[in-house]
């Protein structure tokens, strides 16, 4: 494979994880992957003559398979197989879990290790590390009994993940085996209501035995437990009346990635915060009740339809003192007519929390392929304006670059004409853009009295539109150091280092598969390209504001940024200690199968 096409493959896999394999692979794929391995029906006993080795040694495969696609196929196969195993452990079905092991398995036990150290992670969250080097070497049955012992105190298993972080396989016609770099992770609820998490790294030797993959060796590198006494958060959705069960993603009626915004505000002026949630089929308006519950009153209050909204914002468009509502709709999954987006919907509040949709009357007829909406008074005229991030017309046109796409749909800026209507002025104001824009956030970052706007873009670099104070904006992202090339999904402003200046948090997409592939490409790509690829795979970015008006990206080693495929971000002081913390939503699409791409 010439290296340029190798880079394309890597990039595609990197950017859109394995779905790119679907796009890139012709319908009649010449190299079908191995059939998905099934566990054997019965567990063979550990042989009586099994002699455990004194040490667990795992040499690398030599020669190893080097063809990128072949090794990726195999890695994914083993990864899925270990996810099935994880599922058995999560159910604490140890008999079934035994089928993943060779009867002649030998490995380091996870129980019976000496404590290597203990300390505080943050506040009352504690961390204990175990001495992995001194772990006893045990057979299959004692290995599983060790896991059972380790998680025995937990009242509920929350999650188990044995994840492939790297894999190499033996080339040639002999035994088919591979060496797997494994991240193992298990969480559960403690009897005091807190959560405990056990995580570690290990090497596995997996091999085909009698037509089945099996774990033959387990070499522990590190093992640690973190826990917090008592809960940090409690899921009260059902008790509070907001536990809506939706359709599985991909089914008719739920085929959009986008119908997932939310807005908080006080719709009825009672001083309690209500929630508007656009959705498929119908919208929700959770009106806060005095007893701590919420009542969905979308229908009676007039905001139930149209459905399929994206971003939504409460704001007082006519300065009459109540919370009106604006909702974006990208439309492209709603059928042909929606390909170019749909008009924003503006619902006017009658002062009692009942709404009437007045979009057309207010001149909101221009279609926008809208995701996030940001409301602010960009021209300082005392009336709030609406900025709508526009993505691309996915149904008819794909991004024209993975790195700097410029065929996105145009953003819109609706200038408020004194509460009587809106005019679209994005071009004139200089914020139209041609990127695939997902998210925006407004703040007076340069403290000059007018409100500026950051826009996070997918498949490219971001914009920091500095408000020039004359009704126009100028992109200063390169000058101040916040272009953050990558797959921007979300953005928020907040002072993370307690110096009185607003810092910037940009949420990006990053994928495990991408990082794994980059590790393999190693020296075959020139350093400049590699640096770019690494940035694309790196995840979120924290930009700290400096005293000279520029921003400095924190190194990812500072933490707070590794959130996989991240979307929204909230910067709040969750533990009230006087410092802002970070909450990220994430994940693209979870199927019913445990397997992932």
């Amino acid at each position: 494979m010439p290296s340029s096409s190798r880079v394309v493959t890597a990039l595609s896999l990197l950017l859109v994880a394995g779905a790119a394999a679907w796009f890139l692979r012709p319908d009649d794929a010449p190299n079908p992957p191995d059939p998905r391995p099934a566990p054997p029906p019965a567990v063979e006993p550990v042989p009586a003559d099994l002699v455990l080795p004194a040490t667990i040694d795992l040499p690398d495969p030599d020669p190893r398979i080097t063809d990128l696609e072949t090794v990726e196929d195999k890695s994914e196969l083993v990864a899925d197989w270990l996810l099935d195993f994880s599922d058995k452990l999560r159910r604490r079905d140890f008999s079934a879990a035994a089928r993943w092991f060779s009867p002649r398995f030998a490995g380091h036990s996870l129980a019976g290790l000496a404590v290597g150290g203990e300390g505080t992670l943050h506040a009352d969250a504690r961390k204990r590390t175990w001495d992995a080097a001194g772990a006893p070497i045990v057979d299959r049955d004692r290995f599983l009994a060790g896991i059972e012992e380790l998680i025995g105190p937990w009242t509920r298993m929350e999650s188990v993940l044995w994840k492939v972080k790297g894999a190499e396989f033996q080339a040639g016609g002999g035994e088919r085996w591979g060496k797997i770099k494994l991240f193992l992770h298990m969480t559960g609820t403690r009897s005091d209501g807190g959560v405990s998490a056990i995580g570690g790294w290990a090497w596995l030797r997996v091999a085909r035995e009698a037509g089945l993959w099996r774990i033959q060796r387990f070499q522990l590198t590190s093992l640690a437990e973190t826990w917090h006494e008592g809960p940090l958060f409690t899921d009260v959705s059902a008790a509070a009346g907001v536990a809506h069960q939706g359709l599985r993603f991909g089914q008719p009626g739920n085929q959009s990635f986008a119908w997932n915004g939310a807005a908080g505000g006080d719709v009825d002026g009672d001083g309690l915060w209500d929630l508007f949630v656009p959705s498929d089929g119908r919208n929700f308006l959770y009106v806060a009740q005095d007893d701590g519950t919420y009542a969905d009153q979308a229908r009676e209050r007039g905001v139930e339809l149209p459905d399929a909204g994206t971003g939504a914002v409460f704001f007082d468009h006519d300065n009459d003192g109540d919370a009106d509502l604006v909702v974006g709709h990208i439309g492209w999954c709603a059928g042909e007519e929606g390909v170019g987006g749909r008009a924003l919907a503006l619902y006017e509040n009658d002062g009692t929390g009942h709404f009437e949709e007045r979009s057309a009357a207010l001149g909101l007829t221009e279609p926008v392929v809208a995701y996030s909406l940001t409301v602010f008074d960009y021209d300082g005229d005392g009336w709030l304006d609406v900025f709508a991030c526009a993505y691309g017309r996915v149904a008819v046109e794909h991004n024209n670059s993975w790195i700097e796409a410029n065929n996105g749909a145009p953003n819109a800026l609706f200038r408020n004409l004194g509460g009587t209507g809106f005019e679209e002025v994005a071009e004139r104001a200089g914020v139209r853009g041609d990127q695939w824009s997902y998210a925006s956030a407004a703040a007076d970052f340069d403290a000059d009295g007018d409100v500026d706007l950051y826009v996070a873009n997918d498949y490219g670099s971001n914009r920091l539109y500095r408000n020039e104070g004359d009704g126009t904006f100028r992109d200063v992202a390169p000058q101040v150091g916040v272009t953050d090339i990558g797959n921007g999904m979300g953005v928020s402003w907040g002072d993370l280092d307690a110096d009185g200046r607003l810092d910037l948090y940009v949420a990006n997409m990053s994928s495990t598969a991408g990082n794994r592939i980059l590790g393999r490409l190693g020296d075959e790509i020139d350093p400049e390209m590699m640096a770019l690829l690494r940035k694309l795979a790196a995840g979120n970015t924290i930009f700290e504001a400096e005293s000279d008006g520029t921003f400095r990206a924190l190194p990812s080693s500072a933490g707070g940024v590794n959130a996989s495929w991240a979307w929204s971000v909230a910067l709040c002081d969750f533990d009230l200690d006087g410092r802002l913390d970070v909450f990220n939503t994430n994940g693209f699409v979870t199927g019913d199968l445990p397997h992932d791409t």
Binding site: V236, N260, G494, G560, W565, L580
Partner: protein, 357 residues
């Protein structure tokens, strides 16, 4: 072989030819209809600011780290107890999640601030509020639409740690900076531009209700009728909870052999059963292959009350329901004990061991 940056770039741009959009749509949806994941099961993230330029990832311990596919988030004080709760919109399954913050009060006090501008639009969107807290000045901006498709409520919560008060200043849209002096910890205030002093906002406590355990499909007062269960020797029994009570309360205990706290409380449950004050029924949630192991452990701990196992077929036509209609086997924390009235109605739910029952 080393690809130059330019070569790579042009190859990358050429790759758009395979990015045929209809192809993407078709395959994307097919993939999801097949039940596959695509960066799925990623758990939402909670990072705590350590104050030394680093962050502690406590997601695992947070219980707000849903593996569902999250999009919008509203971080706000839903119950007016001074700390920030979370509402998350997911793309499927349990679409809407509300997480109650349990730690705020443990670590510090707060200021809750709302704004009203007079020289610009009254909502003061874009105003920057700075609170001089225990670790220095912390700035937050009042936004309407940030994150991803998320609109926060127009109220800012500042943590104060152990500080008794903190100086507050506002940079209003238009650029004027106004000090509101020191506000006492625990203040809820409206800051009106030009007023110079904060106006108190009434405390509106509305505690968010306590949830029943996850995985319990019954509510308080619900009656359990006849349930199909297996004995240790795999005999099917139709257990009618109202008729076995003999006029006493029934303690329906869910346990498993791998659960150390469950096994530890078996003797106490036996003592309760033997006292005759109540009827104790055990249900092991062990996988069917582990039934014998669980039964052996049960007997070895001296338990003699009736114990059943999973895997029985229900008979809905005759009013015999499945265990799965009562609980989600994978999600119910164990031990959990349902205290039933003599008529089989759920009176109480005991999470964890019974302790001093």
């Amino acid at each position: 072989m080393v690809a130059s940056s330019a070569e790579s770039q042009s190859a990358v741009f050429a790759s758009q030819e395979v990015g045929n959009a209809a192809y993407l749509d078709r395959h994307n949806l097919q993939m999801f209809q097949d039940g596959r994941s695509f960066s799925g099961n990623e758990r939402d993230k909670l990072f705590f600011n350590r104050g030394d330029g680093t962050f502690a990832d406590l997601s695992d311990l947070s219980a707000c780290d849903s593996p569902n596919d999250g999009r919008a988030v509203i971080a706000f004080d839903a119950d007016d107890d001074g700390d920030v709760d979370l509402f998350v919109h997911n793309i499927q399954r349990e679409r809407h999640a509300l997480y109650r913050n349990e730690i705020g009060e443990r670590y510090g006090s707060f200021l809750k601030l709302r704004l009203s501008a007079t020289s610009s639009q009254h909502e003061a969107i874009g105003a920057t509020v700075t609170v001089h807290g225990p670790h220095g000045p912390v700035a937050q901006v009042l936004t309407r639409g940030a994150g991803f498709s998320s609109c926060q409520v127009p109220e800012l919560v500042f943590g104060l740690g152990a500080a008794e008060d903190a100086e507050v200043e506002v940079r209003w849209p238009g650029g004027s900076v106004e000090s509101f002096g020191a506000l006492a910890a625990g203040s809820r205030a409206l800051l009106v531009e030009g007023a110079g002093t904060p106006r108190p906002i009434a405390h509106r406590p509305r505690p968010l209700p306590d949830p029943l355990p996850r995985g319990l499909k019954l509510g308080l007062g619900d009656r359990i009728g006849t349930v199909a269960l297996l004995t240790a020797d795999e005999r099917l029994e139709q257990v009618d909870f109202a008729s076995i009570s003999g006029g006493r309360r029934v303690y329906l205990n869910f346990w498993a052999s791998y659960c150390a706290p469950c096994v530890a409380e078996l003797p106490a449950l036996q003592a309760l059963h033997a006292s005759g004050e109540a009827v104790v029924i055990g249900v092991s949630t062990d996988a069917p292959a582990d039934t014998q192991r669980a039964h052996d452990l049960f007997e070895a701990r001296g338990a003699r009350f009736p114990c059943y196992f999973i895997g029985a077929r229900p008979d809905p036509e005759r009013g015999v329901s499945s265990l799965e209609s009562l609980i989600d086997l994978e999600r119910l924390p164990i031990p959990t004990t349902l205290v039933l009235s003599a008529e089989g109605a759920v009176e109480r739910v005991v999470r964890g061991p019974l302790r001093a029952e």
